[in-house]
C-alpha cells in the first residue's frame, strides 16, 4: 500500500466534506416563482429597453458600479472594485479579478470593451445602438489598459460619467459567449453575464427560469432557482400567492391590499420608485398656448387627495419635478404648486378662457389607477370651470398621432439617472420627446438645461433651481401628480427589499428566505 501523507489525507477529507456540505447547502435553497404580468421578449437590454427586461435581466447581467438603493442611491463597487475620473471625459475602472462568466470564462477588460464595442453597441450599425444611444451615445472609445483595467473615453465632458455605468444599458456581457452565439438573434435568446443567477430556460409567453450561479464572485444567491412566470391576470397572481404557488407577485394595485393584509402568510412590499406620474400639456393646442392656462390646470389639482384616495399611503406628492435621490441637486426649498382652486379660476379669467373644450388623452390603466386618476382630474378641472373631455386611446402611437386634436395627455417621468439630467432635462430638453414633437419649446429652459451639463456643482444647482421654476410656474410643459409606486405581494417567509427602480434584485443583498 502506498502511504498517503497525513496533510494530504486531511486535505482530501476536508475537500470531500466541504464539497458535500456545499452540495447540501445548494440543494437546501428553495426554488422560487415570481408571478409577473409580462416577461421581456428580447433579453439583452440593448434590444429591449423596458421595465420588464430590467426586472429579470439585472439578476443575470451586472454593471461596473452598483447603485445601493438602501443607501439613497450611493454608488458602490460592482464588477469594478474601484474607479476614478481621469478627467471630465475619461473614467478608469479597475475590475475585480475573481469574476467568472456563466460560461466559465474569466470576466476581464476585453469583456467590458466588447460590451460597449461595435459588435454590440458602438456605432449606428451596431445592433444595440438604437436603444442604448440615449444613454451611452456620448461614448468615444474603450481603451483596454491591461486585463483588469479599462479606460472609457467620452467625446465631451459629462457630469453623469459614473452614473452611466451604474444604470440603464451599462450591463456587461461576456465576449466569448456572444461570439459563440453566432448572431444577434441567437444571442438574444440566451445572454451570458456574471450575475448571481444565470439563464436556465426561456419559454416565450410562459416563463423565464434563472438558476443560481454557484461560481458567483460575491454572496451566493439565496434561491436555487427563480422562475418569472407570466400570469397576466392580477386575480390569478394573488390567488397563487395565497396558495403558496408563487412567492412574489408583481404589479399589485392598492385595491387588492385588503386581500393580502388579512392573510398571515402574505405581506405587501415596495413603494415609490424613481418615477413621477405627470400630466403633459401640448402648448400647440389653441387653449394651452397661454402659460396661464397651463398654470390654472396645475393649481386646480388636489394631489394629496388623489394619493390618499388611490394609493393608501404608498405614493407621495413630490416637491416639484425632482427627487431626493438627486443628492446635491435636490432643491429642498423649492415651492411646489399648492391646490388653489381660486387661483386657478383667477388665471383662467386672466387668460380669457370661455369654456372651450380641451381633449385629454389617456390609456386603459397603463399606469396604476390611470382611469380613476383621469376621471378625478376631469372633475377637479370642471370645478374651476375647465371643460376637459376624456379621450380613451388604445396605445402610445395614438396618443402621439394627430397632434392637432391633442391637449392634455398622461405621462410618467422616470429618473433614469438619479440626476436632473436623467429626468427633467432628458425629457423636456431638446433631445426629449416633447421638444422633438414640438409639444414644447422654451429657449430659457434649454439655456438652463445646457448649464446643467456643466461639471461645476454650483452652476448645476443654480440651473436646477431655474429649470424647476420654469417647469412649475413660468412656462409649464406639464405638471406632476405623485411618485409612482411599484408594489409587490410577497410570502411571509421571504425578507425582500425592493429597490427604487423596476429591477427586482433577488440576490443575497436584498433577499433572505426562511424555512
Amino acid at each position: 500500500m502506498i502511504p498517503i501523507p497525513r496533510r494530504l489525507c486531511t486535505l482530501l477529507i476536508s475537500a470531500v466534506i466541504g464539497a458535500a456540505a456545499g452540495s447540501v447547502m445548494a440543494d437546501s435553497r428553495p426554488d422560487i416563482t415570481v408571478a409577473v404580468a409580462k416577461n421581456p421578449s428580447r433579453l439583452d437590454p440593448m434590444a429591449e429597453n423596458s421595465n420588464v427586461n430590467a426586472r429579470v435581466m439585472k439578476n443575470v447581467l451586472e454593471t461596473l458600479i452598483y447603485t445601493d438603493s438602501q443607501n439613497n442611491g450611493a454608488l458602490t463597487p460592482g464588477l469594478a472594485e474601484k474607479w476614478q475620473l481621469i478627467d471630465d471625459k475619461t473614467l478608469e475602472f479597475s475590475l475585480r479579478q475573481n469574476v467568472q462568466c456563466h460560461n466559465g470564462e474569466t470576466f476581464d477588460a476585453e469583456d467590458v470593451a466588447f460590451s460597449l464595442g461595435p459588435e454590440r453597441f458602438l456605432g449606428e450599425q451596431a445592433p444595440g445602438w438604437a436603444i442604448a444611444q440615449p444613454y451611452l451615445g456620448g461614448l468615444d472609445r474603450v481603451e483596454v489598459v491591461n486585463a483588469h483595467r479599462v479606460r472609457i473615453h467620452f467625446k465631451q465632458a459629462d457630469p453623469l460619467l459614473e452614473l452611466r455605468f451604474a444604470n440603464w444599458m451599462s450591463e456587461m456581457v461576456c465576449k466569448d459567449a456572444f461570439e459563440a452565439a453566432g448572431s444577434w438573434e441567437s444571442w438574444l435568446k440566451q445572454p451570458v453575464g456574471t450575475g448571481p443567477y444565470r439563464l436556465a430556460e426561456v419559454k416565450h409567453g410562459d416563463y423565464i427560469k434563472l438558476e443560481a450561479f454557484d461560481q458567483y464572485w460575491s454572496d451566493q444567491a439565496p434561491a436555487k432557482s427563480v422562475t418569472f412566470k407570466e400570469v397576466p391576470e392580477i386575480a390569478a397572481r394573488i390567488a397563487g400567492l395565497k396558495t403558496g404557488e408563487y412567492q412574489i407577485v408583481t404589479e399589485l394595485t392598492p385595491d387588492q391590499f385588503a386581500l393580502l393584509q388579512d392573510d398571515p402568510n402574505t405581506q405587501i412590499a415596495g413603494g415609490p420608485v424613481r418615477i413621477i406620474r405627470v400630466i403633459a400639456f401640448d402648448e400647440q393646442h389653441p387653449q394651452l398656448k397661454n402659460p396661464k392656462m397651463r398654470q390654472a390646470l396645475s393649481y386646480a389639482i388636489d394631489r394629496e387627495l388623489i394619493v390618499d384616495a388611490l394609493y393608501q399611503g404608498h405614493a407621495s406628492v413630490p416637491n416639484g419635478l425632482q427627487m431626493k435621490v438627486f443628492g446635491n441637486l435636490y432643491v429642498p426649498d423649492h415651492q411646489g404648486t399648492p391646490y388653489d382652486p381660486d387661483k386657478a379660476r383667477q388665471l383662467l379669467k386672466e387668460a380669457g378662457y370661455k369654456g372651450e373644450e380641451i381633449s385629454y388623452r389617456y390609456l386603459q390603466d397603463y399606469y396604476t389607477g390611470e382611469v380613476n386618476t383621469a376621471q378625478i382630474l376631469v372633475d377637479m378641472w370642471r370645478q374651476v370651470g375647465l371643460n376637459v373631455k376624456l379621450e380613451l386611446k388604445e396605445n402610445w402611437g395614438q396618443i402621439e398621432d394627430a397632434p392637432e386634436g391633442r391637449g392634455i395627455f398622461n405621462w410618467s417621468n422616470s429618473a433614469e439617472y438619479p440626476d436632473p439630467l436623467g429626468q427633467i432635462y432628458r425629457l423636456y430638453g431638446p433631445e426629449g420627446w416633447f421638444q422633438r414633437n414640438k409639444t414644447y419649446q422654451s429657449d430659457a429652459f434649454n439655456q438652463w438645461g445646457e448649464q446643467l451639463k456643466s461639471t461645476d456643482k454650483a452652476k448645476r444647482v443654480e440651473a436646477m433651481r431655474e429649470l424647476l421654476e420654469i417647469y412649475e410656474r413660468q412656462d409649464p410643459p406639464g405638471t406632476y401628480l405623485h411618485t409612482l409606486p411599484m408594489l409587490y405581494g410577497v410570502r411571509a417567509n421571504l425578507q425582500w427589499t425592493p429597490t427604487d427602480n423596476p429591477f427586482m434584485d433577488l440576490g443575497a443583498r436584498m433577499l433572505r428566505i426562511q424555512g
Binding site: R42, A130, I131, E185, H204, D206, E233, A239, G397
Partner: protein, 310 residues
C-alpha cells in the same frame, strides 16, 4: 351535390379569408406604429426611421399590402419584431397548447351538452328537464372570467386541490376546460333539446312506432339523425366561440396559447404574428363552415340540389 357546388363553396371560403386578412392588415397598420413599441418613444428619430425602412413600414399601405400578399404566396409569413424570430415559429410554438385546450373542451362540450339535451327532450317537463335548462341558462349567462375566478377561489384557494394557473400537468387543464365547457355545453344542451323536441313530434316518428319499432329504436334511427342537421349549424359557430372564449380563459389561467399571443401581439403591433393567428382562425372557421355546408348536402340531399339550381 356536385363539383360545381363544392367549387362555389370553396371559392367563397377563400374570398372570406382574403377579406378578413385584408381588413386586419389595414386596421392594424393604420392604428399603431410598431417602431415605437419596439424601440420606445424616447428612441432617436433616426433609429425609428431606420426601423421603419428596414421593415418597409414607410411605404404606402397598398405597397405594403401587395408585398405582404406576395410574401405569403411564397410561404414567407414575416418576422416577429418582438421575439426577433420568424413569426410562424412563434405561432407554431403556441399552437399545440391551444389545440390541447380547445380539443379537450370541444370533446367535453359535445359529450356533456348533446346527451344532456337529448335526455331533457326525452323527459320533457320533468324535474330533470327543468334542472338541465336552469343549469344551461346559468352556464351560458355566466361570463368566462367570472366563472374562472370563482373556480380559482374554490378549487385552489379554499380547497387547495388544483393549481391556480399555468400549464404542464392534467391538473392545470381542469379549470380552464371547465370554465369553457360550462358555457359551450349549455348552448349545445339547449339546441339539442329544441332540435329533438321538434323532431319527436314529426309524423315519421309516429309512423316508425306504428311500424312496430321500439321507442329507443325510433329515437336512434329517426330522431337523432334528423335532429343532427340544426346541431351541425351550431358546431360551425362553436369554433368561433371557442377561439373567443380561449382568449379570455388563456389570459385568466396563464395558459401559454395562441389567445394570449394574439392579445399581446395586437397590443404591441407585432403585425406578422397577428396576421398569422388571424389567418389560422379565419381558415379554421371557414374550413369548419365549408365542411358543414358539405355535410348538409350529404345529410340532406335537397340542400345540394337546391343551391346548385338542379
Amino acid at each position: 351535390m356536385n363539383m360545381l357546388y363544392i367549387l362555389k363553396k370553396f371559392s367563397r371560403a377563400l374570398l372570406t379569408v382574403l377579406l378578413i386578412v385584408t381588413t386586419v392588415f389595414v386596421v392594424l397598420r393604420l392604428s399603431g406604429d410598431p417602431a415605437i413599441y419596439v424601440l420606445g418613444l424616447d428612441a432617436d428619430p433616426r433609429a425609428l426611421d431606420a426601423f421603419r425602412q428596414q421593415w418597409g413600414l414607410n411605404l404606402p399601405i397598398w405597397q405594403q399590402y401587395l408585398q405582404f400578399l406576395g410574401n405569403c404566396l411564397q410561404g414567407d409569413f414575416g418576422y416577429s419584431y418582438f421575439e426577433e424570430r420568424d413569426a410562424i415559429t412563434a405561432v407554431l410554438e403556441r399552437l399545440p397548447k391551444t389545440l390541447q385546450l380547445m380539443g379537450i373542451t370541444g370533446l367535453c362540450t359535445l359529450l356533456i351538452g348533446i346527451p344532456a339535451g337529448i335526455y331533457a327532450a326525452l323527459h320533457r317537463n320533468s324535474w330533470i328537464d327543468r334542472l338541465t335548462m336552469l343549469v344551461s341558462v346559468a352556464g351560458f349567462s355566466l361570463p368566462n372570467f367570472v366563472l374562472g375566478i370563482f373556480l380559482i377561489l374554490l378549487f385552489s384557494v379554499t380547497w387547495q386541490l388544483l393549481p391556480t394557473s399555468g400549464s404542464g400537468s392534467w391538473q392545470h387543464l381542469v379549470m380552464p376546460v371547465l370554465t369553457m365547457t360550462v358555457a359551450e355545453a349549455a348552448v349545445f344542451a339547449r339546441f339539442t333539446r329544441s332540435a329533438m323536441l321538434e323532431v319527436l313530434h314529426q309524423p315519421y316518428m309516429r309512423t316508425a312506432r306504428a311500424k312496430g319499432l321500439r321507442w329507443h329504436q325510433a329515437v336512434c334511427r329517426h330522431a337523432l339523425p334528423n335532429a343532427a342537421i340544426p346541431l351541425i349549424t351550431v358546431v360551425g359557430f362553436f369554433v368561433g366561440t371557442l377561439v373567443a372564449g380561449g382568449v379570455v380563459t388563456e389570459t385568466l389561467f396563464a395558459w401559454p396559447g395562441l389567445g394570449r399571443l394574439l392579445v399581446s401581439s395586437v397590443a404591441n403591433r407585432d403585425l406578422a404574428v397577428v396576421q398569422i393567428i388571424v389567418m389560422l382562425i379565419a381558415c379554421s372557421m371557414v374550413l369548419t363552415n365549408l365542411v358543414i355546408d358539405l355535410l348538409y348536402g350529404w345529410l340532406d340531399p335537397r340542400v345540394g340540389s337546391l343551391r346548385t339550381g338542379d
